[in-house]
Symmetry: none
Subunit: 139 residues, 2 copies
DNA sequence: TTTTCACTCATACTTTTGGGTGATTTTATC
DNA sequence: GATAAAATCACCCAAAAGTATGAGTGAAAA
């Protein structure tokens, strides 16, 4: 049966030799057309701007020098001493440790912190630190 | 002469009818191939990357999405909940407020904070926050 | 000269934070 | 199903933080 079918196919090809020829031509030239199109078209150049953030390693953050926001400082009316206490507070020191560092009494530091909280509208030191960082009063 | 030439051309066409036919087929299918190729292939795009260094102003710092330092997190053995408490702590919330926010008791938050301090080797919340920022555990 | 203000300090009191300990329940993992 | 880690909660105690109030001093501004 397979052979018979094969012979039948051969017969069809033979009887339709012209159509087969034209078909082959059509196929070949379609392929040629496709090839031509792919080869000869210019690639469309598309400029794509890629914002590339400069690689920043953790440690480099500190390399970037810090400038206090003088304006915010003025507006809040924070004194030099108060800012100093605020900065030390942000480093994680206790009131006692700050007092020792600045050679003043614990009560003095408490007064300063109280004023800082008042001016920054904060209830706690952690909140004060957070707000101060936002306002770029401390690094 | 023009008419004679024209008659001559007609004769050529007539005598070579088969070749003309095949040529026409070839032309048509070449065009088809070209059309197919152009229509069905993605436009070739040549991407030209233009590096643009992004200037960073104060406010933009927050725009830069923050990635936690997973490695440090692992090394310290901070749990998910502990990190969560740490983050809220850094926003300036009190233990009571954190407890309310997470729908747990104050005592639970205290245990979490204690563990955080232990793992971060901190004595106070302010110190813990400072260290966590350094290690890029919190923004 | 007076006034203002930053800085200092103190006392008394309340609230929050943090340490220590122990226990139960969930959740994930083998 | 056993085990371990995480999460939950409680109680007690001490330390630190924060509030309120008052007051003294010195320097600069009005």
């Amino acid at each position: 049966m397979f052979i018979l079918k094969w012979l039948e196919l051969r017969l069809i090809i033979f009887n339709h030799a012209f159509e087969m020829y034209v078909g082959a031509i059509a196929l070949i030239f379609t392929a040629l057309g496709i090839w031509l199109a792919l080869k000869l078209t210019k690639p469309k150049v598309q400029i794509q701007v890629v914002e590339q953030i400069v690689e920043r390693v953790y440690q480099e953050e500190n390399a970037e020098e810090f400038r206090v926001n003088e304006q915010a400082l003025q507006e809040l009316g924070l004194s030099k001493r108060e800012l100093e206490v605020l900065q030390l507070m942000a480093t994680g020191l206790s009131n006692q440790e700050i007092a020792a560092k600045l050679f003043v009494s614990l009560n003095t530091i408490k007064t300063h912190t109280s004023k800082v909280f008042e001016k920054l509208d904060a209830k706690r030191r952690t909140q004060a630190i957070e707000k101060a960082k936002r306002l770029h009063l401390i690094p």
